[in-house]
């Protein structure tokens, strides 16, 4: 049974790659018999190469994608350097989940309303007597700077979350204590000791962030440059071309996007190798010890002088939500006013019917895909425990590091060949395909940490396999399952491209509507959809946390805590066993 589920998962997760790749390569050579294109040729490649503004849009993609990744890595490192192991780290860690639960689309809409030239931030500037006329706008600016910043701000909490487990495996405290004994100060020891160990551990999350930034469609549609747009938007436009015989051009675009993404990941890998492996001199060229008899010293002043580097990552999302709320209730809100002059419920009432329908669509897709993923992930993890063979890590990582657009393009082409209109089914499957890796990774740690001897003793007390799982393992792992489930739901709720492409426009969710309306005229309607799109995952996260507390109530197990005081490393005695 479990073996069957494992094989089924392998099939479900690996199979889409075959049509995904074939589905873009074959049409790229203009071979689509169903459309009457029967002679393979290279004309589509030529059409892409001759597209005006192609180079510029590729440069924009590289700039925003790699730039946002770089900035996010930098932010993340600075925050870790400042807060890790400090008492305030707890606050940082607690603020991560709500930040992560907020979908990109809702964040982008809120970001637009806050930082567009008529946005709340500019109103604030005006109200304190600052003339904003002609000021540089961050929204849809031609260099993609606003897009870069929004992506960087949104991705930093993700990198922070991923850093936790990486840093827990590095003996940060003790290594730092050694380094400071050798004369290295706090900043130097982070740079020369922690960074070279942290960065390789962060490879997969960084790849995921870079691939996302390079191929993102929904966020760029909302606040990216337009003339020319980033390359992924260009491909998206080609793809949506009503003239079907132009499909080969979109297929070539999808291939180029895939190539850009893979090349960029290669560049990131080479950069890491160059900095950490090739140029090693900077790591060992010694501490810049300040005069040692200088008794006026920074260590006591340091906490006061530090800029709270984490503030923007809390402030901006915190600012963005009330702005959306205000807009959704505003009836009249003239430009320099800080608050609307008249409020109204009209837009909520007007949209309520379709809101219910869309929310029901979103939730049913999310529940279906997450539940299936959960069952499959648990089955795979159990299979790994029993047979010591799990799903290869690269296979788990693939859906996270390949551009969605390229993959989905191929899959969609394939669905053309399958008769019948199974749109809901296709969409649910594509969600599952992207939800599964996140859910699997979320459960991976708890499953590894589970003490298998508990199972063994339950079996020796006379329980069979199923009873052992249900009565011993499940209650202990239930908190992790709830959180994993919420992660799955939030991933599914945020999907734009899979819903749009495999649903062929016939399946609408809050996310697809929010993106569609964001370019519309009415800010109030857009605010409602953005808000709901952002709130829905949050509700599920809150429910998961409540369920988590409820389940954990039965287990008196004290959770293993990280050592908090730097003193512990020296107090921490080996336990002679």
């Amino acid at each position: 049974m479990i073996r069957l589920l494992y094989l089924f998962t392998l099939a479900l997760c690996a199979l889409p790659f075959v049509p995904g790749i074939l589905g873009i390569i074959i049409p790229a050579f203009s071979w689509l018999p169903s459309l009457g294109l029967t002679t393979p040729n290279l004309s589509a490649f030529a059409a892409v190469a001759q597209w005006p503004g192609l180079t510029q849009s590729i440069w924009l993609t590289l700039f925003t994608g790699l730039g946002s990744t770089g900035v996010a890595i930098l932010f993340c490192f600075l925050i870790l350097k400042q807060y890790w192991n400090s008492p305030r780290w707890q606050h940082v860690e607690h603020s991560l989940s709500p930040m992560l639960a907020m979908p990109h689309v809702a964040f982008a809409i809120g970001f637009t309303f806050t930082f567009s030239p008529a946005g709340w931030f500019y109103r604030l500037l005006e109200s304190i007597g600052f003339d904003t006329n002609g000021l540089f706008s961050l929204i849809k600016d031609q260099y993609g700077i606003g897009l870069l910043l929004a992506l960087a701000i949104k991705e930093t909490p993700f990198l922070l979350l991923m850093s936790i487990s990486v840093l827990q495996q590095i003996k940060v405290n003790s290594l730092q204590a050694v380094a400071s004994g050798l004369g290295y100060n706090h900043n130097e020891s982070w740079l020369k000791v922690i960074l070279p160990q942290w960065l390789p551990g962060m490879r997969l999350p960084i790849f995921a962030v870079a691939a996302y930034g390079l191929s993102v469609v929904d966020v760029s549609l909302i606040l990216g440059p337009t003339r020319p747009p980033t390359f992924s938007i260009l491909v998206w436009q080609w793809f949506n071309e009503p003239e079907l015989t132009l499909l080969p051009r979109a297929a070539v675009g999808a291939i180029v996007l895939l190539a850009i993404a893979l090349l960029s990941l290669g560049i990131i890998r080479v950069a890491e190798w160059y900095l950490l492996q090739y140029c090693r001199q900077w790591q060992i060229n010694g501490p810049s010890r300040v005069r040692s008899n200088d008794s006026t010293n920074m260590s006591l002043l340091r906490p006061k002088r530090h800029f709270p580097s984490y503030a923007p990552f809390v402030l901006i999302p915190v600012l963005v939500i009330p702005v959306l709320v205000l807009w959704s209730f505003a009836q009249r809100w003239r430009f320099p006013d800080l608050l609307p002059s008249r409020y109204s419920l009209r837009f909520w009432q007007q949209e309520s019917l379709s809101l219910f329908e869309l929310a029901a669509n979103s939730i049913s897709l999310a529940l279906a895909s997450s539940l299936c993923s959960l069952i499959l992930a648990v089955a795979c993890l159990e299979y790994r425990q029993q047979y010591q063979r799990g799903i290869p890590n690269w296979l788990i990582a693939l859906p996270m590091v390949l551009p969605q657009l390229s993959l989905l393009f191929g899959i969609q082409i394939t669905t053309f060949f399958i008769p019948g209109q199974w749109y809901w089914f296709w969409v649910a499957w594509s969600h599952l395909f992207f939800v599964f890796p996140y859910l699997y990774l979320a459960l991976d740690g708890p499953w590894r940490n589970y003490d298998i001897r508990l199972d063994q003793s339950a079996r020796s007390l006379g329980l069979n396999g199923w009873q052992t799982w249900w009565r011993v393992k499940r209650p202990l792992l239930l908190p992790a399952i709830w959180l994993g489930f919420a992660v799955g739901i939030s991933v599914s709720l945020a999907q734009y491209l899979p819903t749009q492409m495999l649903g062929a426009g016939r399946i609408s969710t809050l996310t697809t509507e929010a993106v569609a309306l964001s370019s519309g005229q009415d800010r109030r309607v857009s605010a409602i959809y953005g808000l709901l799109q952002g709130v829905l995952p949050f509700i599920f996260f809150t429910m998961a946390i409540a369920a988590n507390r409820y389940s954990a109530r039965f287990t008196r197990r004290t959770q293993q805590q990280r050592r908090e005081s730097p003193d512990d490393i020296i107090c921490g005695k080996p336990h002679f066993k």
Partner: protein
């Protein structure tokens, strides 16, 4: 270079960890601090090294060469510390680990030469290119001691440095450590709970640390 501690007490909110403690360690000497588990010996070391957790309150003075250490950041105190775990940097190979400890005044290729020369001196030249995980525990312990000494510390703290080594390696490494400390002429403070660790002729401070240090183990046994 003399390390001296006067009337030092550590307390958390409600109680003192130990009575005020006084001692002075001369260059090249090793003072052994003994005490039961949990009495605060390691916390005392962390206070001297500058890593004391903010939950503790420190009173008294710690000085090195007559210079007060209390307000200094750990990296400016020039006090090297050797833990029971060797704590070599896992991302650097052996000679790079040694070079990491060298002061900045040694530049460029001289850093590698010095590191290799140190390895030669302790008879481990062939380990230069290996990674920390590829060498034995005893070898790692030696490298980590040499790395600390290369950073030219003005005082050395040893936190149960031998407790993780097996019996055969222990006495050999012990002699090696004390020999190196004698050669470098730095004061050393060691905490341990094993009588065997006390060097011949070294002073010992036994729990409770109220009285002044006594000479060698011969006097006590």
């Amino acid at each position: 270079m003399t390390l001296s501690v006067e009337n030092l007490t550590l307390s958390n909110n409600e109680q003192h960890l130990f009575q005020p403690v006084n001692f002075t360690v001369e260059p090249g000497n090793v003072l052994t601090l003994m005490g039961p588990s949990g009495c605060g010996k390691s916390t005392l070391l962390s206070a001297i090294a500058g890593h004391l957790s903010p939950v503790f309150l420190l009173e008294g003075t710690i000085s090195l060469n007559g210079l007060s250490m209390i307000e200094m950041a750990p990296d400016q105190r020039r006090i090297g510390i050797l833990f029971q775990d060797d704590l070599l940097f896992p991302h650097l190979n052996i000679w790079e680990n040694l070079a990491f400890g060298l002061p900045k005044t040694i530049r460029g290729t001289a850093r590698k030469e010095k590191a290799i020369a140190t390895l030669q001196q302790i008879g481990l030249r062939e380990l230069a290119g290996k990674m920390p995980t590829e060498i034995s525990g005893g070898q790692r312990a030696r490298i980590s001691l040499m790395r600390m000494l290369l950073s030219e510390p003005h005082a050395v703290l040893l936190d149960e440095p031998f407790s993780k080594l097996d019996k055969a390696l222990r006495s050999e490494f012990r002699d090696f450590v004390f020999e190196q400390i004698r050669q470098q002429q730095v004061p050393a403070l060691m905490v341990t709970h094993d009588d065997d660790d006390i060097p011949d002729g070294g002073s010992v401070l036994r729990w409770p640390w109220a009285e002044s240090p006594q000479e060698g183990r011969g006097l006590l046994c």
